[in-house]
Symmetry: D2
Subunit: 137 residues, 4 copies
Amino acid sequence: MLSNRKTVHVEWGDCDPAGIVYYPRFFEYFDACTNALFERAGFRKPQMLRTYGLLGIPMIDTRAQFYRPASFGETVEIETRIVQWGRSSFQVEHKLYKGEALAAECSEKRVWTVRDTQTQNGMRSQAIPEEVKARFA
Amino acid sequence: MLSNRKTVHVEWGDCDPAGIVYYPRFFEYFDACTNALFERAGFRKPQMLRTYGLLGIPMIDTRAQFYRPASFGETVEIETRIVQWGRSSFQVEHKLYKGEALAAECSEKRVWTVRDTQTQNGMRSQAIPEEVKARFA
Amino acid sequence: MLSNRKTVHVEWGDCDPAGIVYYPRFFEYFDACTNALFERAGFRKPQMLRTYGLLGIPMIDTRAQFYRPASFGETVEIETRIVQWGRSSFQVEHKLYKGEALAAECSEKRVWTVRDTQTQNGMRSQAIPEEVKARFA
Amino acid sequence: MLSNRKTVHVEWGDCDPAGIVYYPRFFEYFDACTNALFERAGFRKPQMLRTYGLLGIPMIDTRAQFYRPASFGETVEIETRIVQWGRSSFQVEHKLYKGEALAAECSEKRVWTVRDTQTQNGMRSQAIPEEVKARFA
């Protein structure tokens, strides 16, 4: 399975008055990592949206566990891979390392979502194209 | 059990190019709701930090499920309660409503964390004072 | 001239390791205040976009001066008004108060921007409808 | 004068429903660039805070002009330099490029701020050490 490793420099503005990463920022890191994994597979988001009439890949379920705090000035590494493909949803897994130590983990379930002006929300899920899945193999 | 209901106006800046709330912002909403619940119990965060030598109540495990998207201009209601107290950790639950519909749910496990210059991180967990727990009963 | 006063509760997550509002968050407050002023004038953003084919009112020039820091747990008041209308641009002014004290000021120049698939960016400025201006008088 | 050039990948989560960078995120970019310039001069923020009893370098005046929008998937370059040193304040200038084109500019006035438990805010400005200034020459 294709995986991607992304280096993140923890910024001052990512941290809260306790001096550690404000946890919603970790979800921003993870979201950027999922996009980076797609880029690595050859899918830059702007093109991917156009090619497939995609609205996005919104989150429907995510869980993160934080084992060690991170602070501004630190550099962390996040390893990302897709661990399961469904028909229209898929699961992503992130492992965040400080040096050798696993500092956080996150799992995501996202849905391949296209524009649909017929629906109330203007969107609906759709089967993920096989050619997309193939690129991650 | 004490609970709190907070009204959140979804801002333009909370939303992504799909026009819906960028999911890390929901975690910002939830974090503000946990703080609002403590305020309701009589603990404003600045005073709480001073009174107990508290560094904060960092997250160690959180899961959110998103059932319906929310968009700028919408108003949502978030109901928050503490569902379990441990010795130094506690669990929080949020339910986010759009009108009558449950649009998202989140569970949190947080740790009562004090400053400790002896430790490598400058922090350690501590037993939650009984008087704190009592205020939520 | 119509003005709007918005109360903002400074959240823990808005603050940096110095314990004060991380200044980009002030711009989030100000942006929400401009939107709130439009709402007060009768223009909720989702409807306004639909009615006028509007893409948004992007910023082209903004300056903020910060006289006093604000910290989590504090409540501030922001007074907002449009101080000048151009053909397709307009200027907004915000004054942020902590109690009686003026703690920050911001000026904004924004452009009324519509979708235009003919342009490279997919957008262009347009004359602001007179009926829009009239609502702020 | 020392300058620094930082590459920023515009993330999906940095963009608003108009599909372009939500302007407060540009200030996050600029803040990270000022910190990167200090790092380049040999001052990593955590060490700098410890060495000088520094609370931070809070913003007191900033102005940004946006000439061209940027969108997710794009990469921009930001060039940063300190253009003037005062006794306890200094001015920073950022130029943001999309390819060859200047897409945004920002000026900042920041204050060298130390902890002081005697003051109401717990902070006060202080003369910037000459050895700090010297590193940027």
